[in-house]
Symmetry: none
Subunit: 215 residues, 2 copies
DNA sequence: TTCCACCCCCTACTTTCGTCTTAGGCTCAG
DNA sequence: CTGAGCCTAAGACGAAAGTAGGGGGTGGAA
């Protein structure tokens, strides 16, 4: 049985959710709460698997509540509910540890499926929100990571090993110890790498390695 | 009617998809292709709304094909299919313009729904992939930037100027020229900064500055 | 086999870094 | 006024970093 905590300030929404979940058969309402503070204390009292929570509520809002729930010993999976697909809240909610984000007009069947999905350890977002997430993701993860990787590709494997160590802020002596080679060899690799990359010092190379995300 | 293009090198997969989509009623198979190159030329010939495409294929793979499809005059919505949920491909596919990413064991009903969803301009990811995307999103949109900033906050303004220059890969002499101060002063700032930050060399500081977004 | 690229290591040398010490001028709070 | 902190700077010095050139060994390609 999946133990669900319902959190919403409107009684009608709560009873609606209660009805929907009752039809699932494999779920039980562990508790209900009217705002974030109540939700946190309810989750502390009753073991809960999944939390269905409104974003906006009087008192403690859903975002801060999600963050607090995430810090509990056995954090429940949090699905945020919202009326409109408000961009900013999505990102904040995901950072707060939410694993689901649905619109309130989601069909009952999908809602039930979402609860099961997150209970399984996966994530479920409304399609329109997924689209937003993907586009902002594409902006944030630009392909210059690939540029950087392409530039590093001209190095040999050992040279890359050394440069990654350099990018971790290690001295030549430390790198020598870590990679089991003489410091003179490290210097040789660094020097060769720098000239291959057209750089003059190790800081520039370190930055490149970081841009390639090979931290 | 949603016009669908099926792309997979295995005949069995293609016919399976064909059967599933036929049941939907509101879809028509515009064409089929065995690899990325065929897919692109097929999409050029027949107007297509949605492309269902395998990630791995002999010849041109799904990723590069997705990128090419994305550059067409009327780019179709691309849903990538895969057997395993391979992390790297997801990110690459999304950057290539894909708006869907499903596992091949997705139930027929969900597959049909996914096609409708992307045809509507939204995105659809498999729950396990959504989870991955969210966690990497949370990493990429970090509050670590704030950590790094907090650490850099203990530096004075001038010291920060110098460290930002360091993080750009400049030598002390170059920094001196750029900031109009003696090289000995640059060294003084660098040394003071490093000791304040508890670091031993400029590479580590450069990384911190980068983590703080400042360049 | 020969050639070539990579890997490892060395010496020797130059340049750059980083630390330390000292110190003048500045501003601001007490 | 005085001390504290910042910015500036110099000189000196050891420790790294980076360059140049050489010498081996391996293994794959020609």
């Amino acid at each position: 049985m999946i133990r669900v905590l319902i959190v919403d300030d409107e009684m009608l929404v709560r009873s609606g959710l209660r009805l929907i979940l009752a039809e699932a058969g494999d779920m039980v309402i562990a508790a209900e709460a009217r705002d974030g503070a109540e939700a946190v204390s309810a989750a502390r009292l009753h073991p809960v698997d999944v939390v269905l929570m409104d974003v906006r509520m009087p008192g403690m809002d859903g975002l801060t509540a999600a963050a607090k729930l995430h810090d509990l010993p056995h954090p429940p999976k949090v699905i945020m509910l919202t009326t409109f697909d408000e961009d900013e809240y999505v990102q904040a909610a995901l950072r707060a540890g939410a694993v689901g984000f649905l619109l309130k007009d989601t069909p009952p069947r999908d809602l039930i499926e979402a609860v099961r999905t997150v209970a399984d350890g996966n994530a479920m977002l409304a399609p329109s929100i997924t689209r937003r997430l993907i586009s902002s993701f594409a902006e944030i993860t630009p392909s210059h990571a690939n540029d950087a990787r392409a530039r590093l590709a001209i190095l040999t494997e050992r040279e890359r090993d050394v440069m990654v160590a350099v990018a971790n802020g290690m001295s030549n002596a430390e790198i020598a110890r870590k990679l089991a080679m003489a410091e003179s060899t490290v210097r040789a690799h660094v020097s060769k790498s720098l000239s291959k990359l057209g750089m003059t010092n190790r800081v520039q190379a370190a930055i490149l390695v970081h841009d390639a995300h090979l931290v």
